[in-house]
Symmetry: C2
Subunit: 597 residues, 2 copies
């Protein structure tokens, strides 16, 4: 049976030692936020995830959600767990105090999301979408809508969704067919069918607030004619009580590969009453607020899945006795050595460990900048943080989910045949992880977003928010001999990234396919360079503390960084070669050559 | 809904054009085997797989096998499909005519295995294991056992299994605890529990012949004390009729991630009557006959899964309209372009196509050499073929299954969110493919087999069966300018392989961990070089036929080879760097540094 223990020491290392919580305290509103306060919250969060959510993970997968006559029932225990979630106040963690939120940094709720996702990835989707809807409404809604809906959403009594996809359009939302007909009273009647609506219908909350994009009669074809509407499951009376059932109903739920306890719904809107959110025809751009928040959340979900896969693979590798070390028995008194003695098992474990911890640094770096972008007083600082988030969101989303899948598969592999058996839990992490690469924009779309939108954004100003600090770090430390084994590989990989960036900037304007062909490799190259930079920073911290009582902990950081530099970072070489090979091998390939013959 | 069409043209290209069926006709017994005969068989095999097995694939996955009171029932339709399978004579395809087999080359049954695995991977496991048991008994059994058991196994009336794993030992079979107690009549009584027994119990055949390894009272600890026994589900009377139920019963079946219609059984042997097969204490080495056959079969299963994933991803990419080409609309009359216009979608499809077709060449090359190793008259030719098979078996097993999983995942990705939905079929291929990396020896074990056993075997004689032809090919074609874009990359990658081989030969003898640390990367490097070599051969053939009526087909081979050389082969660079980095980063990593902290 799998187990989960929130990696509080690792989290604290990244938050307090690599980045430092002074960053948070420098922001207005957080001046008095003490480390001890955050520790207390994260301790409680860890207990909730370990003791309440994790025990429901396997049973939730086995049972799945139920659908009958439009009603969705979550697996046994989910309703009670969600009630505890709300009672403790977890739903309001980083929400605006004006609406009853606790006003804590997004960094804190991001850490919590990692833990929830490790403990119960399906469960995580309910608050994740609700939070996305909250952010969208808080940013773009009228005062009237905000006052009416936000308090209950913040309180967790009401859920939220994001209704974008239709059966004929996912990536290409300009094709959408859902109609919004304006009514005399200023409301709209929405009609159409949305698919893949995560938590579109369930029994966890009293009401569900759908954020729906649709086209008004005067909306032009394409994305520019799309507007955003709030469509509640139950209409809300002026006194805040629930009124009549709205025409937003669940037609069915999907049977999926994983996250089976998360209800993925087909939603029918049949003249459902909706309220315009933000300006007419600004639906797509406004929706991006929610998508960015959701994309970061999906990346964090990947981090959580990689973490739990590692924890259990490690425990198994220490426990499973099989064969002997290639250099002679390490535990001659036992019937065999634990499989962790084998180089190939260590390779798998270290790949998991290094990428997980690198992803955690990447995620928290991004989350801290997100708080800065929202709260910094200095407009330049705010802009810089916003730029950084624009740049990193697709990278966090795609790289953390790609690696989650890869690492969950390594976790299965460490278990051997036992990894394929459901009761051992490892295969669920693999199935649950596979969705991350698909939803909230496939990872191919993320790569195009990075290379096609974010790279040229601001004439290079956006990309400079990453290149600048990395360049400065290398300059500062390149002559430090003790750091050479880390900074050397970083410098080399960063050189590849710069070269690839230049190549794309040169070729893509005259042939957009050059950007498309390079996109996936470029995103991966970028992420690995980011990991390398962050590992260097981690090593600097760790080297300073080797004489502390936690020597083994800090030593582990240095050794993990070394493994990353020697065994994982070299793939940047192949990525650079592939990028240089350009679009030719893909685009010169003739359509009929794909077959079938 | 997914579809399947056996890739007969591709198969015929590899069999007849790249390798040539004269190879088969040069073997005693196959002199009169005409291409038209083989075509007729493969046409029929294709129809059987497409029309009988494929329709049961999804339903079999949804229903799974049932277990009740020791009885295993396969999903609806499996029993009837198996009856057709037997009635048509598919079970006896490559079996010895002495026992009722059709005596066709193993190459033909290998091709059939690819098709079965595409159509219904779960179904493929029943004949695969039965064939393995057949080979083992045919090679090592006494005349009496062979005459009594083989005819019904060849005929498919009786199934077969391979009972190795116990709960505490899979890789390390020397630890096994199952006992075989000799009886006065020369038989044995077997007692113990085996797990992960594929097709250990089911309703497809009248009897099941278990090949069981166990330890006799005088068997020393470790693998040298292990012997092999035939244990039938029902005892067989002298007249061939079925007698009493033997003490070999199914205690439960596993709930697995995939291949859910394949019964994976816990088998209890309770004083079950068994018959010694081969010499006492030679159980492990004799079992390897079956394992090699099974390992090749598992690799072929991977090929089949990669093929069906490609076929359906391709069809979807041509059909799904979403977005516009980055260089402007390709189909302005449609609401959007098909997603195959996008470079990143083409990258995924071409990766699938190139690796599938390379794997097919690798598989059939190996299968042809297997026929040669069994039938060649010239002892030197026989030995060479046997050497080649020793070398290639772990590569085929591990690389084809690793890529099957990777390609099935790409297939899901091409479908976007629709790939995650069970009814679309793609996620099943991914789940079904995951087992290939685990069973019949994990891929880590295959890599160790290659680097630790096969590389040094015969003082380099074994590895020379691959290096020799590649070296000769490069010498012959390196000055051919028209082949330069293919032979150049091959030469470079082969140089990396030679260098890595030299490095390992130099370092491993004094530190076995150096072999272990390099193993996984080395196997992949080897396989990619083999692909490169085979693509060069395919290009040579295709270039000669560009003026034929099938120009598009041959052009496709050349373009696919070009993609492989430019976009996939470069990863050999990273693999070589990782191998050169050695065991240090893995073995110097301290055990306590793995955490948890």
């Amino acid at each position: 049976m799998p187990s989960y223990k929130a990696p509080l020491r690792d989290i604290s290392f990244v938050l307090k030692e690599v980045f430092g919580t002074d960053q948070l305290r420098s922001l207005p509103g957080y001046e008095d936020l003490q480390d001890t306060d955050m520790d207390a919250i994260l301790d409680e969060a860890a207990k909730f995830c370990e003791n309440t959510l994790f025990p429901l993970n396997r049973t939730g997968d086995e049972e799945g959600c139920h659908f009958e006559n439009g009603v969705v029932t979550t697996p046994k225990g989910f309703k009670e767990a969600y009630k505890s979630f709300v009672d403790i106040g977890w739903s309001s963690l980083s929400c605006n105090p004006t609406y009853g939120g606790q006003g804590l940094p997004l960094t804190i709720s991001t850490i919590f999301t990692e833990m929830i996702s490790s403990a119960n990835s399906s469960f995580s989707t309910y608050p994740l979408l609700a939070t996305g809807a909250y952010h969208l409404l808080e940013k773009h809604g009228s005062e009237e809508l905000k006052n009416k809906y936000l308090p209950k959403m913040v309180g967790g009594q009401w859920g939220g969704t994001m209704c974008l996809t239709e059966s004929h359009c996912g990536t290409d939302l300009g094709l959408l067919r859902t109609k919004a007909a304006p009514q005399a009273d200023g409301t709209y009647k929405l009609t159409g069918t949305k698919i893949f609506i995560t938590s579109g219908e369930h029994d966890l909350t009293e009401n569900i607030i759908h954020m729906v994009i649709a086209r008004t009669p005067d909306g032009v074809p394409g994305t520019k004619g799309i507007s955003l509407f709030l469509v509640p499951k139950f209409l809300v009376n002026d006194d805040g009580s629930l009124g009549a059932r709205n025409g937003a109903t669940c037609a069915s739920i999907e049977h999926k590969m994983g996250i089976k306890a998360s209800a993925t719904c087909v939603m029918n809107f049949d003249e459902a009453t909706g309220y315009l959110v933000g300006d007419l025809f600004k639906g797509m751009s406004n929706m991006f607020v929610m998508m960015n928040s959701a994309r970061l959340g999906i990346g964090v979900q990947g981090l959580g899945l990689g973490e739990i896969a590692y924890q259990n693979a490690l425990a198994y590798a220490k426990d499973r006795l099989q064969g002997r070390s290639l250099t002679g028995p390490k535990y001659p008194d036992k019937m065999a050595d634990p499989i962790i003695v084998h180089p190939d098992v260590r390779r798998m474990l270290l790949t998991m460990k290094a990428l997980n911890e690198g992803n955690r640094m990447l995620v928290l770096w991004t989350a801290l900048q997100l708080d800065r972008s929202q709260s910094a007083k200095d407009p330049a600082a705010k802009q810089e943080a916003e730029d950084f988030n624009q740049l990193m969101t697709p990278i966090v989303k795609a790289f953390c989910t790609d690696t989650a899948f890869e690492l969950a598969s390594l976790g299965v592999q460490v278990f051997g045949g036992h990894g394929y058996i459901r009761e051992n839990g490892m295969e669920q992490y693999l199935r649950d992880a596979r969705i991350g690469m698909l939803y909230e924009g496939t990872n191919g779309i993320q790569a195009m977003d990075l290379i096609g939108r974010k790279l040229p954004m601001g004439g290079g100003r956006v990309v400079q928010t990453f290149f600048g600090p990395v360049q400065a770090f290398i300059e500062q430390h390149k002559n430090d001999e003790k750091m050479a084994e880390f900074v050397g590989p970083l410098e080399k990989a960063f050189g590849r990234l710069q070269q690839a960036t230049g190549l794309i900037a040169q070729k893509a304007p005259s042939d957009h396919n050059e950007a498309g062909a390079a996109a996936a490799d470029y995103l991966k190259l970028f992420a690995l360079v980011a990991h390398a930079y962050l590992w260097c920073r981690a090593v600097l911290v760790a080297k300073d503390k080797l004489s502390s009582s936690e020597k083994a902990f800090y030593q582990s950081k240095i050794e993990t960084a070394r493994f990353f530099m020697e065994k994982l970072l070299p793939q940047t070489g192949t990525l650079a070669v592939n990028i240089a090979a350009g679009a030719g091998p893909l685009m010169n390939f003739q359509d009929e050559s794909f077959g079938p013959f």
